[in-house]
Every structure is written in structure tokens, then in C-alpha cells.
Symmetry: none
Subunit: 221 residues, 4 copies
DNA sequence: CATGAATGAGGATTCATTCAT
DNA sequence: TATGAATGAATCCTCATTCAT
């Protein structure tokens, strides 16, 4: 009984994941082209009607995908940041992590554009983390910043744009550390220190479980 | 005969402009919502079929709108830049002009996202002008820049992001000059000079003819 | 499960037949007039969209109708011919059967003209049977024919035209046996024999199953 | 004045012919595909609206084409038949003429199918001439025919079918005389006579004026 | 729960025809 | 008369969603 119940909910979760994964695949592989629910269910190898047992609406499925990816990104970043105490280090690591994610970031934006989600606030949850570091560093005298809000904006803009440019091949991979260095200097750190923080080895990223089931599979597909 | 011909092509151009204008209005007023061709023709007060005398496809109409706006922006910017010789001045003026255009810029991006044009290269024609100033200034010793390409990228990112934030109300209008100042300092100009350039009065912008017929009307609508 | 599957495919086949039938009716009842898909689905008492679950295009629906009729005609003819050994008898019977089918033949041609199928080869599958009898009879000395190919052509032409004329009421029903007699004489049979073969009772035609489900119903409609 | 008037009506006739010709070309070159009035006027190098100065409706233009071709065929045939007194000769010549026209006939039928004219009576105006010869010959004892109506039908069918088969390449050109011979024998003429009539040289066909202006041009195009 | 047949509102597109110039 | 811009009814086709099995 209980076992049966467990089996059932496990299966349910599996089907759900299959649908999310196949939705994600469809969006990535077909750009902005119209995606039909049949496309999705066929790719997931489920019956058409099954879709509606999991999502009330196509829109909601897209949002589930976004949530999924976002959670993965966030989880990974949190694991990395958690042990770091110094705001400058934390800041530097976060910057580099974000830039390194250029690829996923791209997909992420593709998705957002595609799904038509207007309020991109959630996209910038990690933006909050950067702002937090920034303010903490400013207060503690580690950074020299007049207007943290504006500075934060400038940084976000640079991050986003550099990510895209790297992705497009317009900038070399070295741009990641260079950008980080520029930004740290802009925060008033001496070039020596900026350079040092930039060269710090990225802590190994423990991949969260869910990534294994969806994104990793995807990457190897 | 000749007159007749002239009359016809004048009328054609009028109708075409009416369609472009109404397409633009629709995109702005309804965000990403589905726009139907009927919406467009109704707003333009023409018959449904008329649309197809001018654009083979909705997509092509969107692109015509983009071209139109782009031309206007470019024309205006060229008029402003033309008399300026000093790269730093030229650069500063261009920055401020771009930021001031936050509004149109926003529309511009909304359009691009909406229309789904992938290669945004054309969007950044003014980017080329900035890069050109940057390199000229670097060569002449006016700017201190290691890697103009990367620097240019960082600047573009900041511009784009700040434009959006101003538009959204997350940043005050003062961010325009502040951002310009930050950027000029990043190029190695002393704060004094940066501040001075920032406070230079914007040269009056002679509005190009075409704007009168479409955008201005639009702005007051 | 299995039952479910069976039920579904049975239903599918039913709907498909309903659509074919109603397409056929429409073509017959409206001549060359434009037939819309709505006409078809309304007559079949199905939703408009349903059509597209069965045929990608109107054209393909027409072809399905042709295939359907053709199969019925062929099946019936084969059943009749199968027991007959003598080529002259077989030939005579086939001729009369084809002429008797004047009605369907007419519809058949109307359909073909309407549907615009260019290669009418399939229409003449029974033509092949006639040619076969002709050559067999010539070889065995039963017929006297110089050029079987030409003779076959002449016969096909007569058949077709007489069918139409009977249908239109320009010729009496007696033309069936008269035409057959003419043709048999043209093949060198003595008038006595020709007459005898002509008056042979048509074997009763076991109506194939499919006719029951579609054409018969149609005939009574 | 008068001259002016003449000029005007000449021009009018020219334009009309240009439209008829281009309509004919369109039908032949594009098979059953939808032909638009624009296609026609463009091919005729006239303005779109001009069409309606000559034909009230597209359908009427098609019919004008049919009339045009029919007249040409008829005129030519009449010129040939006029000097012939003997019904057998007249009959033979007409048969051969019709078969020789296989090509135009094909176009003719294509047109009729396309234009959707149901009553093909006019197509068979020459059929009347054949019937007339037939009855005249039967009365005068030249032909031995029981039922002229049926016989006529059989002949019409053969003519039509053989024409098509020659056109398609399924029958050699020699089929023209062979068919004629078969038919004459069927009318009771001794094979010798039939053969002789068949080999009679076709009288030279004086091409009527209108053919020059439309069909000939077409043929060389 | 899974399934897929049925549905019809919605949107794109065509084109014969009108009419002002 | 010649022209071609304007028109909108007519039609095709898509696809999210429902629902009976």
C-alpha cells in the first residue's frame, strides 16, 4: 500500500520531469518557432492528453521549466558561496561563476524571451546576492562606492553583455577574468588584489542532483 | 499621366507609412501579446486586404518598423556628432544621447525581442560609432585603454542595462550623467574632465523630417 | 487496453469513411463547383478540425475517394471474371459490366476531372483486363485482330463514350448489348456468336462488403 | 474623326486579343493551378483594371477563349469540307482532320475541364457534321448502317480516345489512317475503298486569319 | 491516470471586383 | 479608356483544450 503509493508518486515525478525536459529541449532546438503540445508529448513519449495531467496550460509548463533551471543555477551558486566570508572574495567568485555560466545563461534568456515572461526579476535573484555583497563590502570599507545602486546596475549590464559576447564568440574566454578585474578595480580594489582574486581557483562545484536528471542528460544528447 | 503616377506613388507611400506607424503603436501598446493583422489594419484605418499590398508577411512589417526607427535614430545621432572633432567629446555626447534615448531604446528593444530578430548587429550601428571614438581616443592618447574591444563591450552592457533601469524607474534620471562620468573615468580621464564633459549642454537636435511624420505624431498620441 | 486500442481504431475508421463518403457526395451533387472543407465536414457531421486529423489536404481526400471507388469496382469485376475461362466470354462479360456501370463510371469521370488527377492509368485497370483477354483471344485464334493495341484503343474509346451517352439519356439502354455486339464483330466473331454472347445472362454480382458500407448507403440516400 | 474611330476600335480589338491570348497561355502553361486575373493582365502587359473593360468576369474571359479556339477549328474544317460532295470522302477527310488536330484537341479539352463548362455540346459541333455525312451516306446507300445514332456514338468515342492516345505517345501517328480505315470498314465500305480514301492527300488547309494572330504566335513562343 | 479523437475559435492569406483618378 | 490601390468575403489551416473510454 504505502509502497504502492510511493511507486506511484515516483512515476508521477518521472513523467513530470520527462515533460519538463522535453519542453526545454524543444525550446532550445527550435528557437522562437511555435512549439505545439504535441511536439512536447511526442518528444517525451507520452500521450497527448497526459500533458494536461501535469500542467493546466502550456504557459505553466514553460514556467515550470524556468523554475527548474533557475533552481539548479541558484542551488549551485549557493553551495559555492556558502563557505565564503569575505565580501570581495564572495563577489569575485559570484561574478566569475555567472560569467562562466554564459552558456546556460544564454539558454536562460532564450527561454525567457520565448516564454514571454515580462518581469525578469526572478532572473536576477543572483543579482540580489551581488548587491548584498556590494553593500556589505561598502559598509565594511572593503569597496569604495558612492552609489551602490547605480554601480550595481553598471555591473549587471556588463555581466549580461559580456556573457552574450563570449557566447557569440565575439570575446575570448579570457574576458571572464579581465571583466572581473575591471569590475573589482571599479570598486576601488588595488589592481594587485583584483588580479589575485581573479586568479583564485574556482571552488569545485558540487552538481545538484536534479541537474543530473535533466540538464546533464541534455548536454550529452 | 506623370501626374497620375506621382499621385499614386504618393498615396502608396502614405498608406505604407500609416501601416508602419500603426504596427509600431500596436507593438508598444500591447507588449508581447499576439498582434493580429486585423489589429494593425484597423488601427491604420485601412481594409484588411490592404496590408498584403504592402507586406508579404507580418514579420516583414515588423522589420520595416525596425528599419524605420533605426534610420531615425541614426540620422539624428549623425547630425549631432558631425560637428564634433574631439573623440572624448564625441564619445561623451554619444553616450548621453544613447542614454537619453532610453525611452525609444526601450521600445526598440521591445520591438526586437518581440519581432524575434536574431542578429542584433544592426541595432548596434551606433555601437560602431562608439568603438570608433574609443579607438581614435586610444591612439591619440586621450584614453587609456588596454583592450578596446573588451572595454567597448563593458560599456555597451552598461549602456543597455542603465537605459532599461531608467526606463523602469529603478534609476533616477541623474544616472545618465553619473554613468557617463563613470565610463569616462574608466577610460582614464581625470574626474574633473569627466564631470565637465558630462555637464556640457547637449547640442540642440534638429529633428529629421521623417520623425515628424511618424514618431512625433506617435509621441503625442 | 487492447480493447481500448481496438475501439479507437474502429472509431477512426468510421470517421474516415464518413469523411470519404461525404466528400464523394459533395463532388457528385455540386459538380465542378468549389467544395470547401466545411461543406465536407458539415455533411459528415463532424467538426471542421476533424478533417485535418485524417487528410492533410483536400486533394488527398479526393484521392482517397477515388481509391475507394476504384477498389470497389475492381473487386466486383474480379469476382465476376474469375470463373470464366474462354477469352471471348470473359471479354463480353467485362464489356457489359463496364457499360452497365455507366452510372458509376460517369461519377468516376466526374471525380477525376474534378480532382484533377492527371495520370488516369489507374482508371483503366480494367482496361488491362480487356487487353489481356484480347491478346489471349488473338493468340488462340478466337479473335482476328491485326493490331491489338490500336483495336484496344478503339474499344476503350467506344466504351467510354457510350457509357456517357447512356448516362445522359442520348442512347437507350439497349445500346449496351448493341455496342458489345458491334465490338465482338469487329474482333471477327460471326454475328451469331456475337449475339449469343451478348444475350448471356450476367452472372449475379456478389456485392463486396465495402460497397455495403459506403456506396449502397449512398445510392439510397 | 472616322479615322480616329477606326484606330480606336482597332486598338480595342488588339487589347482584347492580347487578353484572350494571355489567358490561353496561362491555362496551358499552368494546368489546373489557380490563375489569377493579375497573372493574365501581367502576361498581357496591361493594367489590372483593364481586364474589366473587356470582360465582366473571369469566367467570361475563359469562355471567350473557348469560343475563339472553337471558331478557328470550325472555320478551318469548313474550308476543307466545302468543296467535297461525296459523303464518304467528306467523312474520311473530316475524320482525319479531327485526328490530326489531336494536339489542339488536347488543349481544347484541358481548357474545357479547366473552365468547368459542363455542357460540352459546342465541343462537338464537328460531331454534327460527321453525323450529317453519316446519315447522308446511309440514305444514299454509300454506307451500311443499322442505327446511325449508335454508330455515330461509337465513332465519336473512338476519335476522342485515339486523339488522346496519340497525343500521349501511346499510339503511333500511323494510327490516324488505321483508325479511319477501321471506321470506314465498319460503315460497310470494302477495305480497298477504305484504304484509298485514307490515302487521299489532305487538301491544303488555308489557315484562317485569326489563327495567325493568336495560335501561331503561341506555337512559336 | 493515460490516452487520443474531436472540436472550433482564431488567425493568415487570397483574389475577384470596385472605383477614384 | 487605362490604371492600380483598396477592399473584405471566403477559405484554409492550426492547435490548445476537452472529454469519453
Amino acid at each position: 500500500m504505502n509502497l504502492n503509493n510511493n511507486n506511484n508518486s515516483r512515476k508521477r515525478e518521472q513523467t513530470r520531469q520527462a515533460l519538463i525536459k522535453s519542453t526545454y529541449e524543444q525550446v532550445l532546438s527550435r528557437g522562437g518557432e511555435k512549439i505545439t503540445i504535441q511536439d512536447i508529448t511526442e518528444a517525451a513519449e507520452v500521450g497527448l492528453g497526459t500533458f494536461y495531467n501535469y500542467f493546466e496550460t502550456k504557459q505553466l509548463a514553460f514556467e515550470a521549466v524556468l523554475q527548474d533551471i533557475h533552481d539548479q543555477f541558484s542551488d549551485a551558486l549557493n553551495v559555492i558561496r556558502q563557505p565564503l566570508k569575505d565580501p570581495a572574495t564572495s563577489f569575485a567568485v559570484t561574478l566569475q561563476y555567472c560569467l562562466t555560466q554564459a552558456e546556460d545563461n544564454r539558454d536562460w534568456h532564450a527561454l525567457i524571451e520565448f516564454c514571454g515572461i515580462r518581469d525578469q526579476r526572478q532572473l536576477y535573484q543572483n543579482a540580489d546576492q551581488l548587491l548584498h555583497d556590494l553593500q556589505r563590502g561598502a559598509k565594511g570599507g572593503r569597496f569604495k562606492v558612492d552609489d551602490p545602486i547605480l554601480t550595481h546596475s553598471l555591473i549587471m549590464g556588463m555581466l549580461r553583455h559580456v556573457s552574450l559576447e563570449i557566447r557569440k564568440g565575439n570575446l575570448a574566454r579570457s574576458a571572464i577574468s579581465e571583466t572581473t578585474r575591471h569590475i573589482l578595480r571599479m570598486l576601488g580594489l588595488p589592481d594587485q588584489v583584483a588580479k589575485a582574486l581573479t586568479q583564485m581557483p574556482m571552488p569545485p562545484v558540487p552538481v545538484p542532483r536534479r541537474i543530473e536528471t535533466s540538464l546533464t542528460i541534455l548536454a550529452t544528447a
